[in-house]
């Protein structure tokens, strides 16, 4: 399938500058607005106290708690989750040469969910705060290991086999998740936590969650950047990539592990936030073209501001009630995607 927009291509640095401005704007609104109205000067004082060096006067402990312990980590976690998911999505779309691939296409996000649900149903999460996230990352990596093992013959892993094995594993793990949830129905508390977690969101996420996400994000991003150029060549097919000097099996493995680490870490702290990893990279590719050295950082930044903005909507649109973040990303992302398709109908050629 090919979706081709007309001659327009946005300048990379302009795009990044605009994205950074949006991210800062959304983050700013997220810090100053919330269900508890606060005086702007108090918020500024709290931020200055934590971010600027030097001596500061005493801050109102209530404002400090709301801004620095509730709102700030939430904004930061939202940005990190959005960036990781969009980056992993861009990688998977490149690797599978398919603009419809999502970050968890090889079973990693469902695997992460299985890990977390397992920890929640068996009560491990109650005793140990990090149990669910750690099980989630473990589940993602284990899923990838299973899928690659199944799809590899004589050291060669064809991407189509990988894709099919991923689809099968996704279905299997979704069934396991349903079974685990049904099993826990009697225990109201566990069932509620699982349901909350499955819908995806960054409510009540603290600095500890940002800290948990950080190593996975750094490692995943580093691998992604190191293998960005290989993805450009893989777009042209493995044979061409190999003839131009790409060690294709190594590149494929690196990209898969990088995306699994990013997806697993994101799902571990925020549950399943849909649509970001699918729409964002696709949109960025339409605007900036398929060269991954530009596409990957731009997708990361776009995912970050998109999710921070979506979370802003999630907590304000029906305040004081909160809407689930995953619901908002789908509600905003899907129509926007359709709007793009319809708006550019004259210039969009969908072939094959």
């Amino acid at each position: 399938m090919r979706i081709a927009f007309g001659g327009y291509r946005a300048g990379f640095w302009w795009y990044m500058a605009a994205g950074l401005a949006l991210l800062l704007a959304f983050a700013g609104i997220g810090l100053f607005r919330g269900s508890v109205p606060l005086d702007g000067r108090d918020v500024l004082a709290v931020l200055a106290r934590h971010l600027l060096p030097g001596e500061h006067g005493p801050a109102d402990p209530r404002v400090d708690a709301i801004v620095w312990s509730l709102r700030a980590p939430r904004v930061v976690v939202a940005a990190m989750v959005g960036g990781c998911l969009a980056l992993a999505g861009a990688q998977m779309q490149g690797l599978f040469r398919n603009p419809l691939a999502s970050p968890g296409i090889v079973g990693t996000s469902t695997g992460a969910a299985t890990g977390a649900v397992f920890a929640l149903t068996f009560g491990l999460a109650g005793g140990f705060l990090l149990a669910a996230p750690l099980f989630a990352v473990g589940g993602a990596l284990l899923s990838l290991l299973i899928v690659t093992r199944i799809a590899t013959r004589d050291g060669y892993t064809p991407v189509t086999t990988l894709l099919l094995a991923g689809v099968a594993l996704n279905a299997l793990l979704a069934a396991v998740n349903s079974w685990l949830i049904a099993r826990s129905w009697e225990q109201y508390e566990a069932a509620r936590r699982i349901a909350y977690w499955m819908m995806g969101g960054v409510t009540d996420r603290g600095w500890v969650h940002a800290g948990m996400l950080l190593p996975g994000m750094v490692i995943g991003c580093a691998i992604a950047v190191w293998f960005a150029r290989d993805l450009d060549l893989l777009l042209e097919g493995e044979e061409v990539a190999a003839s131009l000097g790409v060690d294709i099996e190594r590149a494929k493995r690196a990209v898969l592990w990088s995306a699994a680490i990013l997806t697993g870490s994101a799902v571990a702290v925020s549950g399943v936030v849909g649509f970001v990893g699918l729409v964002v990279p696709h949109l960025v590719r339409l605007l900036l073209g398929p060269v991954h050295r530009r596409l990957l950082p731009a997708a990361f930044l776009t995912g970050a501001w998109f999710v921070v903005g979506a979370d802003l909507l999630a907590r304000t649109v029906a305040a004081p009630q909160e809407v689930f973040l995953g619901v908002v990303t789908a509600f905003v992302g899907a129509p926007f995607f359709l709007f793009l398709l319809v708006r550019h109908e004259g210039e969009v050629a969908v072939s094959r």
């Binding site: 150029r229 131009l244 000097g245 060690d247 073209g289 398929p290």
Partner: protein, 266 residues
């Protein structure tokens, strides 16, 4: 078209007892072929004879089931891909690109074996890319999307990407199939110039007469085996053409090269 600046003499590329099996079928077997420096070899044969497979084996893109591919005496399979790609370039049969690279971005993919992983292309790379675009007559298309090119334009862009690698051995699979007469002859002329400067070129051609005119040697494949190899005048004769291609070949007078008029066997 002007040719690129002279390069160091091409390394010798050879296939020793090369064979490849896929899904229980031998696509090619027992092939011994030497690509000497500064030689233009044309690979000919009927459909399904294994011509494309031969190029893939020579490029190192496919692993051999038996035999060895040697580049300058070293096992091609043991050479790091990047290093091999700097010396041997391969252009597969034209496939419509699906991703919207501009022509310049697309040709720059050919710089991969020379690029630094973190910093990408340098200005020297960019000058060389301009050179390659110019040599293949596509500089005017540089900012166009590869998805919007005609078959002939795409063919020349693929050639530019191949030159961008600075490889000394070029393997071209049916490089003239989408080109009109003039551009086809231009491309063969470019290949000839590259060879005269010291590169080696192996190309798959369907036009036997073009093969006879432009190539130093002709390799004839039939049903996965190399049935003849040598200078066109020694190899191409009515008897062989009847056997391999099942056509009646009538020699045309007045040409130094062994060219023919072809008629179906009845």
């Amino acid at each position: 078209m002007t040719a690129a600046p002279a390069v160091a003499a091409a390394p010798r590329l050879e296939l020793v007892g090369g064979g490849v099996e896929r899904r229980g079928r031998w696509l090619l077997r027992g092939v011994d072929l030497v690509v000497d420096p500064a030689t233009l070899i044309s690979v000919v044969g009927p459909n399904g004879a294994g011509k494309s497979t031969l190029l893939r084996l020579l490029s190192g893109a496919w692993r051999l089931t038996e035999g060895r591919a040697l580049l300058g005496g070293f096992d091609l399979a043991a050479l790091p891909r990047r290093q091999a790609a700097r010396r041997v370039a391969y252009v597969p049969q034209t496939v419509r690109p699906t991703f919207e690279f501009t022509v310049r971005e697309f040709v720059t993919l050919g710089r991969y074996p020379h690029e630094s992983r973190l910093f990408g292309t340098r200005s020297a790379d960019r000058e060389w890319i301009d050179r390659c675009l110019e040599d293949t007559d596509v500089l005017a298309l540089a900012e166009r999307r590869v998805t919007t090119l005609s078959g002939g334009e795409l063919q020349r862009v693929l050639m530019a990407r191949c030159l961008a690698t600075e490889a000394e051995v070029l393997l071209l699979d049916e490089p003239t199939s989408n080109l009109d007469l003039a551009h086809g002859l231009d491309l063969l002329g470019l290949a000839r110039n590259l060879v005269d400067e010291g590169r080696s070129v192996v190309l798959v051609l369907h036009d036997l007469n073009a093969a006879a005119r432009f190539a130093d040697r002709v390799a004839v494949l039939d049903a996965g085996a190399l049935v003849a190899e040598g200078p066109p005048a020694d190899v191409l004769n009515p008897d062989l053409l009847r056997r391999v291609f099942r056509v009646l070949a009538v020699p045309l007078a007045g040409s130094a090269a062994p060219v023919f008029d072809f008629e179906p066997l009845r």
